[in-house]
Symmetry: D2
Subunit: 369 residues, 4 copies
């Protein structure tokens, strides 16, 4: 049973990139999962991870990963792993993830390749854990019994989390969002320093489309084994700014039902979801944190709140065009990538969707700490 | 006569700050104006400018200014100057500018203190040179025969310039703007480096209100010696980013009349105004420059276009919520401050509003160069 | 007894500045000390700390400090505090610290004012804890029985720590150091962002002299109740770079006795001192960490190693002019300021120098964890 | 004849990289040279330059270059060009430059591949134009009559220029240099932004060796058709910092003969060379500029002095270890790359070394302007 000491062996696909490194760092201490295999491109395969990775995390390379021999990104790498985490580049993720799923793996992916596939859930655990019911559909369609579950784009997650309580309480009709995104969102090598120092780049290829499409899918509902997308009208404008970690979003929303600022703020601050109820290992206590400081939220000061798993919101006020506007911050390589995907994986396990592992029960009620 | 060799003696008020320094640098080679006096706080008064200024411009301190003895910011400093440029901090600009106007000076101010005064024109020369007719009104009300003319806030100018052709051609009903502003906009010492490195600050005190109010005034019309403000509904959200110079604006607009993208782009690219017709010394050839590069405009690459006097626009496309959206860039300490104020001063002179100096006629038509 | 549950009440002088904030953050969880009073300038006195501080730390303002009423920086603020931490600006620290010492307080200061006083120890606990014997001398000379103990300049600490094992093992004759220092070293507001973005400033007023003088004092020996300075010849060149935290030093040394690279590296890696033996709460397990990565150490990746209390060294190699060169990194606001001063305070207590508190014994040997 | 209106047709090899772009920008207005061909990798060949280049210069792409069809980097591209500029990556420059030289071209190269070849001059025109006599040696050895002439590494040029007057006047025995280098020195894509934001990287592969070797060659003398290297002992430590353009060097020197600070400064300020005497088009009036500001030189403020062709020096003072120390700044992509290579090419032409073009005579003496 999960938590009893034995851990689930997992593989990290694409372990040398910046998101892959985050997975390795976070899995080192994970109570449920244990790294059994690391894969990378053929160029790195066959060598110890510690020698081929160009480590850029501010925590040290975990001792247990240093000597693991990197394997090619093929299903044979994961024969002992019921679950794999994909940090593959979108250029190769599509067929590679299919191959692992066909071999029976539960693939939890941070890549964009399958996010909009109709039978693949795109999950933010506090919002739409129920979309994981697609896994059964997905599984039936595959020979090997595996499935693919995806994590949204790093800028979508924060937006969707901030919207969810408003959707539930008041309905959201229209949405205008301008992002200021950190360079770590572009991975490694990612953006050349010569392009971004003393600069803003007002365009991230494909990002605006991803925000618009993914947000509607995440906020959608499962109808007859398919996702019926939410109808919110979205206008997104994405910018890259010289910040290491943390995406800032300037959001304006038009609600379906009348609400006061106090109503909106109350809905944000009281928001909680299944990961909190189940006390999943990577779940923040508060998935949304509201700050009163008029200059908040700021990436450098607030991105690490709740281990980088909260959306930090501030400056809620009336919007002269729509109804309300506010600023939201989310950590793009924690909630927006590796740790967010871990939480999805935990939810998959907790819901009993990993063959051979029982569902997790919510802890008995206890006095709040 | 202007242009014949003798130049108009001018004073720069607040000459040691960052905008004051820009005035000093730009006036060094100006064909119409000549620095006759520099003022600063009492602490600096009495000493040579070269010794008290902490020069932060990338062009050298002009030789002619090095030995000028700095004077206190009092009208006595400008007895020989029919025109003064105010780069005073808003904390002291209000009464000081009034005092110079009362002493008979034409005060061209970059400070915010009098921008929204009902009898003070707030001018972007390509847009509303006709607002300078308020000068006569202003003058009548003063004992000394002086007047105050103002330059808008650095983030408003680019926005107003980008909107003007749309207002003229199609009408603008609604406007959503998110800014990413350079640190030089906060002057010196301005923003602490510890606050902005690896960071975004999603709030600039008073800035959103200034954009909303000033834009409506600039786009307004003179009715019975007063400005009737334009009715456009504006929602602004202002951010500070780690960029040296150049404010980027993500703009969405709803137009009153139907237009195609080609219509909108045509109106932007063909835009021209009085400064271009009169070929004023600080006028850009093209006040609006449209770039096709999907990653444009960017502060570091494009802020110097047209000597920092153009608004550089890119990414014009449909907006799912309003009608169109685009990105605009303007140089906040050139068009948005010192050089923009110089252009206003040139327009004041060219329109014959500086007592003792004739109006300037447009140059005879010639074949385009 | 320390560690039994009751904690020593302490005051933080200058609690609203950036170093003062670090003290407040670090003391919130300290096992030996407890914040009893916070002082600031008269402007802030009388108001709750949470309202007057402009918090710039990435950890939240500790709940216990929010409502503490800020007091003026006068000895009356510390009547219940046998120990005070001074984060005062050097402009006011001199007389203020004297006043607290005269009132009987043990003043542990991060300010430069008294560092070079002949009767004041300047301490890096791993290097020269024995200099604390000056406290007795200092105390005798004061009416009130207090004393002042100081923490070195943020760039000196890392240098002195890196040198100490070489001094002990081989003798150090000459030293050439070029620093690249983070902006947080200049405090708040400190360096204007307009001065440092896309820039290097090759001068920090007084810093080179401080490094040269403080290093010689710290490496000196106590002779007849006075410090006899070390004779090493030092050439320092200090630069400010656009980095948030972490000073990088390029060091070349000439040794007195012949040594191989392996000898030098061995002496660095095996270095340990009294704080490690006594297992003081703020002591790093390894005060010097050597990294093999040819691109290490780097501020962003390595400044947090050992809680910011280690000097991280890399690139040890022969120097064509002197004997060896290497790169050292230390965290300027942790080891180089607040946490470093805490370690000094812990050493003061552990050595039984705080009246009323017994000395701490080293823990019994146990199996390594 | 040069200057009479007809210009020498030239090719730029590797025209799409960042140095190649600089060549294209600078050649657009050059009085002696005219772009006749642009080459790039096979991937770009056959397409218009304007379509394949990802332009990152702050001046616009020259109109004349937009429609030039890019050619493969093979000698056939330069059949009409007696001179070619190589901005090739070092990975391909070696054999490619040989091929163009074998085809009869005078190759002026910014790549490192042939810099240390015994028959290839490595030239800073103010220092060692006489090394160009190797061209005749080189030519004799080649079938095609071409030759290769090289420009030093971007960090070496500034150092060598700063040293030359000291070598001539006092002799230089030892040299310690620590560099803080801009990211543009790494080209495009060059350094990943995720590696350098909020960071310093204390290592640039191969750079320290280049500085040490190239400086000795440049300061060497021609003996019997070969370069006898200068014997100065050099210790270099190279760092990358988050600056766009401009390398800063902290230099300490030991001189062979006694000199005062005034002597050293006088030798720096009065330095001038053949490019100044011949008034070559790209020559700065003053190749060394000394600034008295205690905070100078700084990359952002001073890199553009003299069109980026001067070494800007400040902070000259005694060194406690060697004799003197100072800070030097040079623009790494202007003097340190494209414009520096242009000046070399001008010197080649002016000395009559380009077959078919007469030597240039120094202008008649005239009163100084």
């Amino acid at each position: 049973m999960i938590g009893s000491g034995t851990r689930i062996p997992v593989a990290v696909l694409g372990a040398t990139g910046s998101v892959g490194q985050r997975f390795v760092a976070l899995l080192a201490d994970h109570p449920w999962f244990e790294i059994a295999a690391l894969t990378a491109s053929d160029r790195s395969a066959g060598q110890p991870y510690g020698e081929v990775v160009s480590w850029v995390q501010s925590t040290p390379l975990p001792a247990g990963a240093v000597d693991l021999v990197v394997q090619p990104t093929e299903p044979a790498a994961a024969t002992s792993c019921p679950m794999v985490f994909s940090a593959l580049d979108a250029k190769v993720a599509g067929p590679a993830e299919q191959a692992f799923a066909a071999a029976g793996c539960m693939v939890v992916s941070n890549a964009r390749s399958h996010r909009m596939d109709s039978d693949v859930p795109l999950v933010v655990p506090e919002i739409n854990g129920d979309h994981l019911s697609l896994v059964a559909v997905d599984r039936r369609a595959r020979a090997g019994g595996g499935a693919i579950v995806t994590n949204p784009n790093c800028s979508t997650i924060g937006l969707a989390l901030a919207l969810k309580p408003l959707v539930d309480a008041f309905g959201v009709e229209k949405l205008h969002v301008v992002t200021m995104q950190a360079v770590s969102g572009a991975g490694l090598p990612g953006l050349a320093s010569l392009r971004i120092l003393d600069n803003v780049i007002p365009h991230i290829a494909g990002e605006e489309e991803k925000i618009e499409a993914e947000t509607r899918k995440i906020l959608g509902t499962v109808v007859d084994g398919r996702i019926a997308e939410h109808a919110v009208a979205i206008s997104a404008q994405c910018n890259r700014v010289p910040v290491v970690d943390g995406h800032v979003l300037c959001v304006s929303v038009a609600l379906e039902r009348r609400a006061s600022i106090a109503d909106v703020r109350g809905s944000l601050e009281s928001f909680s979801g299944e990961p909190q109820r189940l006390q999943l290992p990577s779940a923040p206590r508060h998935p949304i944190v509201y700050l009163d400081d008029p200059d908040a939220p700021q990436p450098r000061l607030h991105r690490e709140i709740e281990g980088g798993m909260a959306v930090v919101i501030g400056r809620l006020r009336s919007c002269p065009l729509l109804d309300f506007k506010f600023v939201a911050l989310s950590h793009n390589t924690l909630r927006g990538a590796a740790r967010g995907a871990l939480l999805v994986a935990e939810q998959v396990v907790a819901r009993g969707l990993l063959t051979g592992f029982d569902a997790v029960r919510p802890p008995a009620a206890k006095s709040p700490s």
